[in-house]
Symmetry: C2
Subunit: 452 residues, 2 copies
């Protein structure tokens, strides 16, 4: 007999072209044009699957950070596959791993988003997840008929309604609606088709969706914003949160707060998995890991470092201030407020100089960085996982493929020795990997006599 | 030495779930839920590739023909994969065949469309094509915040600007813009990045696109409307036309007219391939083919046949008229005017009764049907191809997979015996199959001294 299953962590592989460090493309191992290199993504997806990760995760912006600037040619995050086309291709090259893509609620229509993720879910045999973002960059606004980014609050109001519509469309067909009865000529049961007829503030969408019910019931909803609006959306809807708390105390506070907020919406804590981003560098020793990070930092031109920092601060430029002086107060912009607030709090609490903040942001994008041996990294993940700060982690390898492969070869076995991570998939859908049950179709009546 | 290559026809396989006949899902061989059956599409794509077809072709509507109706459950074209996700998956399961998907200019944004097709082109190694449609059904309007379909002329004005923006975005990066120079830190050449800055009547799009230049330079542009607005768009932009002329004279007139209209836009006739739809039934004799068609017709319920006819006539319902009387004049609606006009002309010219029109539309969707032996079918295709009526054909198999496989096994060898169709691919991209050269990037300067 098996003993009761120990709680295990969930792992995602956040695949960002050549890695999350902005100097990574100059790493000796970096493949050319990684963002549009299918062989590169094929390798990463297969290795993550071999390691039994819950999912691969693709970010997305519908622009690159284009600014007319003499140093623009040094910017690497310029061209990338469109995430839904890429994941549909990768679905054919993998069998079990979850496939999560980002799609914006600000520059798409809910019918199209509902349809694409439901289609991916069918294509992949139940492995699709949608990372909901509201898109905060000016570059995206300018590509979609706007002169400026929509107000932060308005973006989230639109997002809430957008998600409601998408979920409504996903319930258009009950599980057993299609009959295929060649003899009688009845293709589907009309009583099991439901027309949404949504009329709201932002959208008017009749439905029904022209895709049958997803293999997972509904694709998994992932959410990444940590502002109060973002937390509210997460508490109401999200099944996975990708977040960016650095300290244990911060992570515990966030974890507790969001899981409490869920109650107001009648949801149970286990229905949401909180998976902070982790930026790991594995070394033979802590010093060795630190050296590996410094080698990456040396690949970053200061000319591109300063604008990167300014973007993380909502456009506020620190390059004119004394570099070894304190980080001044700066106003929040309409952009990614939760990230701006996290950085401001972090700088104040740790009494960072501008130079330190510069290194932190250009080096780790403001995410939780762990540099150390495999055992050090496992210790920290274990502490946060068992200490009420996380249900798992989204691994943001500094460079790819090497940074992810080192994590897989060195840290994953250590997590397994501690019983903290699976050795084999027990299910075949993303929901099964995450321990999330399929949401019932809102229209399906409980079977008569089911309570007997 | 090879002699000069005889002109050969192009063939597309228009894959419509279980086939183009509305009764096809009840055919004994029809797979269940064909529209969302990945194995079914995999088989079809591979067989079409084995037969060296130029492309597979997917139609699309962002709705199904939902009408509250007691017979709604008899409607089969309800659920289908989303085309871009499906083609991205099929790109991994095939190597050479072109992949053409329909996307609407009325319910998408040009940045998203430019991006998805460029991404598919990279994923597939240069096999993507975009079939431009303006979407004429009420069901689509109701799924996208509208109460009615946009006016026909306005839809095409929007489409013209939409295509201009998409092509502008596709030229964002010159072919050799990406440098990947790890040593100097220059990722791309800023002189080879171009910002569109489009500001028009319908769209304001800055760009640049965040996808590097397509393998084909640009994905192939396909267009399907035959109204005067549609022909104008085709003459200006299209590289393939999918059309629906039935008689040779009609086809010749259309062919000549569109190729003449191209001159006004400075284009050469060979830059556009006209590929009418063909609805073939292969039999051991003509009688046998006719019997096969009648067997399909017997699978159609009259309850769903009449609404199908009404939709093809822009909503005009003939079910109240004497069934063996003449087809009355009917007004054109804002829907698919070219189809309405073709049917009206056809009915008048052929002096059809309502019963005959009903059979024609419910049976063949108003397309050119050929029922006969393989040799009969090859004769008719040859006549139209050599007689100035077509550059190739989009094969609309009445039922799938059988109808397409019969065409492949019986008609394709006959076309090869006549030297009218390739025995092997000579290129690897869709453009190469079609004999279309890659469009130069508008920004690329001819090399200095190139004229020497």
């Amino acid at each position: 007999m098996m003993t009761e299953q120990k709680r295990q962590m969930h792992l995602g592989a956040f695949l960002q072209d050549v890695g999350h460090h902005i100097g990574a493309w100059r790493h000796p191992d970096a493949p050319r044009n990684a963002g549009m290199n299918l062989e590169h993504f094929k390798l990463l997806a297969r290795r993550a699957e071999d390691a039994k990760f819950d999912m691969i995760f693709l970010g997305d912006q519908m622009t690159f950070q284009y600014e007319e600037d003499e140093h623009i040619g040094r910017t690497t995050r310029t061209v990338n596959f469109e995430p839904l086309t890429l994941l549909s291709a990768l679905a054919m090259l993998t069998r079990r791993i979850g496939l999560v893509a980002t799609a914006s609620t600000s520059y798409n229509e809910p019918f199209n988003v509902a349809r694409k993720f439901a289609s991916l879910d069918h294509i992949s045999g139940g492995r699709a997840g949608w990372n909901i973002v509201t898109s905060w960059t000016l570059g995206e606004a300018l590509n979609f008929n706007r002169d400026e980014v929509m107000d932060h609050g308005l973006r989230y109001q639109r997002a809430q309604e957008f998600v409601d519509v998408v979920q409504g469309l996903w319930d258009s067909w009950e599980d057993d609606a299609l009959l295929n009865d060649k003899k009688t000529g009845l293709f589907f049961d009309p009583d099991k088709l439901h027309v949404l007829d949504h009329q709201g503030r932002f959208f008017k969408v009749r439905g029904p969706l022209n895709i049958s019910r997803a293999i997972q019931g509904q694709p998994v909803l992932v959410q990444a914003g940590s502002s109060s609006d973002g937390q509210d959306l997460a508490a109401r809807k999200a099944e996975v949160i990708f977040t960016a708390q650095r300290s244990l105390a911060e992570a515990q506070g966030f974890y507790r707060s969001v899981k409490e907020q869920m109650q107001a919406y009648g949801r149970q804590p286990h229905q949401l998995k909180i998976m902070p981003g982790v930026f790991p560098i594995v070394g033979e020793s802590r010093e060795h890991a630190g050296e590996k990070f410094e080698q990456l930092q040396e690949l970053v031109d200061p000319e591109i470092g300063w604008p990167v920092l300014a973007r993380h601060l909502g456009g506020f430029d620190l390059s004119g201030y004394p570099i070894d002086g304190p980080v001044p107060e700066f106003p929040l912009s309409q952009g990614n407020q939760s990230r701006q607030r996290l950085l401001a709090d972090f700088a104040r609490r740790e009494k960072l100089t501008i130079r330190q903040l510069y290194w932190h942001v250009t080096g780790t994008r403001g995410h939780w960085a762990i540099f150390g041996t495999a055992s050090d990294i496992a210790d920290q993940l274990e502490e946060r996982f068992t200490g009420g700060g996380a249900d798992g982690f989204n691994i943001m390898a500094p460079w790819l493929p090497g940074g992810l492969l080192e994590f897989i070869h060195q840290v994953v076995p250590e997590l397994r020795r501690r019983g903290l991570f699976r050795t084999e998939y027990s299910g075949s859908t993303l929901r099964e990997h995450l321990g999330l049950s399929a949401p019932p179709n809102r229209y399906t009546q409980p079977a008569a006599g089911a309570a007997l």
